[in-house]
């Protein structure tokens, strides 16, 4: 199959654009998904925990106890619920996320400058929330010591100073939004191509195409190019909202990031093509496309769950998934200012995987022309 005719590929592409423009589902999906994802992950899903309900059993009722409670409330993370009964019961019934016990004598000790104790009980059944609450406590402790004793607690002999690089405020939006490109490419590109090529198989038009002098490669390029552009537009939208709406910095190279996008798009389009050749039915192609597109890019790419905390098998397994490498490249480009040297591994991995998927899809497509 030598020779590639741009004119014929262009004819196929033009026809595909007509299909897209006339199909409300495709258009809504392609334009709506990026907006929806940015809204969800930018606004609705917030990995910071606020408004933690704390049941308070204040058996001291002294001025120091009142100050301690003020500090909890003033932090913005906690909402205190005074209770006369047993706060643990409120934990049981999920009316509270944590309980604070202040024993009689707290104010007396604190005002006399003696060590005073209060107990904070957390609901460990939601471990991610629990971990976040734990993270807030040292700050509360420091603030309380300053108010009640006039000084910070005595420094421990050994102290670990923590400082967060790249995302100093641990802003979860900075972390999430740059990775959204992975979902958009991974889901949209795979799903849309799988469906559009499967449609040609299903309704028999593929045979009619092949009865003309058009070559398989021209059909493929013509059919996939419009979706590549559509998906790239989605990624650009994410980029713009990350920069302009959420103020995420972009410290790396735009060129390298674009290269990562193009490589990942190639891999995703190839995967979609492969699915369509194998399934040949729109319905099946859609289901396989969603599962094989969304699952890896959402759960196994490091988008939400860090790859480093996966069991060793999965850590190696994710190396076979293009979205994992794209996430590394995207976060590196946005937050770390990664250059060619840092991005060499993810970009090479993406290139290798795209080439592999493309070769597989083309081979399957050409050998399977016979229905």
């Amino acid at each position: 199959m030598t020779g590639f005719d741009l004119h014929r590929a262009w004819s196929v592409a033009r026809k595909e654009v007509m299909h897209i423009l006339r199909d409300p589902f495709t258009l809504a999906l392609a334009l709506g998904l990026p907006v929806m994802l940015v809204t969800f992950f930018g606004y609705a899903i917030d990995f910071e925990v606020r408004d933690i309900k704390v049941a308070v059993a204040d058996r001291d009722s002294g001025p120091a106890a009142r100050r301690l409670k003020e500090i909890f409330s003033a932090s913005g993370y906690f909402r205190l619920l005074e209770t006369d009964g047993n706060p643990v019961e409120m934990l049981d019934s999920r009316r509270a996320d944590a309980a604070l016990f202040i024993e009689p004598g707290f104010s007396r000790d604190a005002l006399a400058g003696r060590p005073a104790r209060a107990q904070f009980v957390l609901d460990g059944s939601d471990n991610s929330k629990g971990a976040v609450m734990m993270g807030y406590l040292p700050g509360i402790q420091r603030a309380a010591a300053l108010r009640l004793y006039g000084s910070e607690p005595a420094p421990a002999p050994l102290r670990l100073e923590t400082r967060f690089l790249f995302n100093p405020e641990l802003n979860s939006r900075w972390f999430m939004v740059p990775g959204l490109g992975a979902i958009i490419i991974g889901l949209l590109a795979i799903l849309l191509t799988a469906m559009t090529v499967a449609r040609e198989w299903e309704n028999g038009s593929m045979e009619l195409l092949l009865s003309t002098p058009v070559r398989p490669l021209e059909i493929i390029i013509g059919k996939l190019a419009p979706y590549g552009l559509l998906v790239l537009t989605g990624v650009f939208f994410v980029y713009l909202s990350a920069r302009l709406v959420f103020g995420v910095p972009f410290l790396g190279s735009h060129l390298l990031f674009l290269l990562a996008c193009l490589l990942f798009i190639t891999a995703a389009l190839s995967q979609g093509l492969f699915i369509s050749v194998v399934t040949r039915q729109q319905q099946v192609a859609m289901q396989v496309g969603i599962i094989s597109g969304l699952l890896p890019s959402m759960l196994l790419s490091g988008f939400i769950f860090p790859v480093e905390s996966m069991p060793p098998f999965f850590q190696y397994f994710t190396m076979l998934l293009p979205p994992r490498w794209f996430i590394v490249a995207a976060r590196g480009s946005f937050l770390k200012g990664a250059g060619a040297a840092e991005l060499a591994v993810p970009l090479l991995a993406l290139a290798g995987l795209s080439l592999l998927l493309l070769t597989l899809a083309l081979k399957k497509f050409k050998t399977d022309l016979e229905p």
Binding site: D23, S211, P213, E370
Partner: protein, 305 residues
């Protein structure tokens, strides 16, 4: 194009794994002929046509389509034939103009030429709706005619039509066949497959296929004459036929074929004498000319007998 037959097929076979879909088929089609393939589903009609369009490469044997073979993988053939498939005609979500532009683009026709061809073909099929009509809104018959126009946009020598009238209203079927005749009057060769006997009657010659093999070839009259050399009688009992009589008749020595046609029965005999011997004078009968349906039943369905 040089003169010579439109199709010259010799010992053509194709296998898919162990399954032989088309088995040692040979025939020749003259230019300007309407050549029909008749056979049950799975008889190999569509597969034969798909080979001759350059969509499938034969496993063995040879075929010259408009003088061209398969040495280039069917590319040359694809340029000089037009194909209308059974399953798909035109994209419903595109307009008439967009569909035809797409067909022209795939064949790299110059815009001016494509436009001129479009006008010619619209005149041929009598299409006078606006170009921006959505295909989805067209009646089935009109859609079929437009699909033929799309398949002929590049002015092919040979047009392959795979069950072009399946699912089309009877009146539209007749119109489409008138169109096929007009196409051959332009000097084109039309190869067509069909299920319908009345359509097969309109072919110049018919190839009868059964399980991948060509079992009879000829004009409708030739097929009838060779399948039924003797007389055929239509028996009309004005009600259900007496079962005992039919059982007797089936055993008659000169009987070639006995088949029900509605309430009537068709009985074909080797010669007039055996008919007289088998049919008592009391049986109401009329001598009839065998139809292609009788031929089909005798050659295709009754071949196992």
């Amino acid at each position: 194009m040089t003169a010579g037959p439109a199709l010259e097929v010799k010992n053509l076979s194709i296998k898919f794994g162990d399954f032989t879909a088309v088995d040692d088929v040979s025939f020749t089609v003259r230019r300007g002929e309407i050549f029909g393939f008749l056979g049950a589903n799975g008889a190999g009609k569509t597969t034969t046509i798909r080979m001759l369009c350059g969509l499938l490469i034969p496993s063995s044997g040879s075929a010259l389509v408009g003088g061209l073979g398969f040495a280039d993988g069917g590319k040359g053939i694809k340029k000089i034939v037009g194909y209308m498939s059974q399953k798909f005609t035109l994209y419903n979500d595109l307009t008439v103009g967009e569909n035809l532009d797409f067909a022209a683009g795939l064949r790299k026709l110059a815009p001016r030429y494509a436009c001129a061809r479009r006008r010619e073909l619209f005149e041929l099929i009598g299409f006078d709706r606006p170009l921006n009509t959505m295909v989805a809104s067209l009646p089935g018959g009109v859609k079929q005619e437009l699909a033929l126009a799309a398949a002929m946009l590049h002015d092919p020598e040979i047009v392959f039509l795979d069950e072009p009238t399946s699912g089309v209203a009877p009146a539209s079927r007749a119109r489409f066949w008138a169109l096929i005749r007009k196409v051959t009057e332009l000097g084109k060769t039309v190869i067509v497959t069909t299920h319908y006997m009345d359509e097969a009657e309109q072919c110049g010659r018919i190839a009868l296929m059964r399980t991948g093999r060509l079992i009879a070839l000829g004009s409708p009259d030739e097929l009838k004459a060779s399948a039924f050399p003797g007389p055929m009688a239509e028996l009309d009992f004005n009600g259900p036929a007496p079962a005992a009589f039919l059982r007797e008749l089936e055993k008659a020595p000169g009987l070639l074929e006995l088949s029900p046609h509605g309430m009537r029965w068709h009985a074909a005999f080797r010669d007039a004498d055996s008919m007289e011997a088998a049919l008592p004078a009391s049986v109401p009968r009329a001598l009839i000319k065998p139809s292609l349906e009788d031929v089909f039943i005798r050659l295709v369905e009754g071949a196992g007998r």
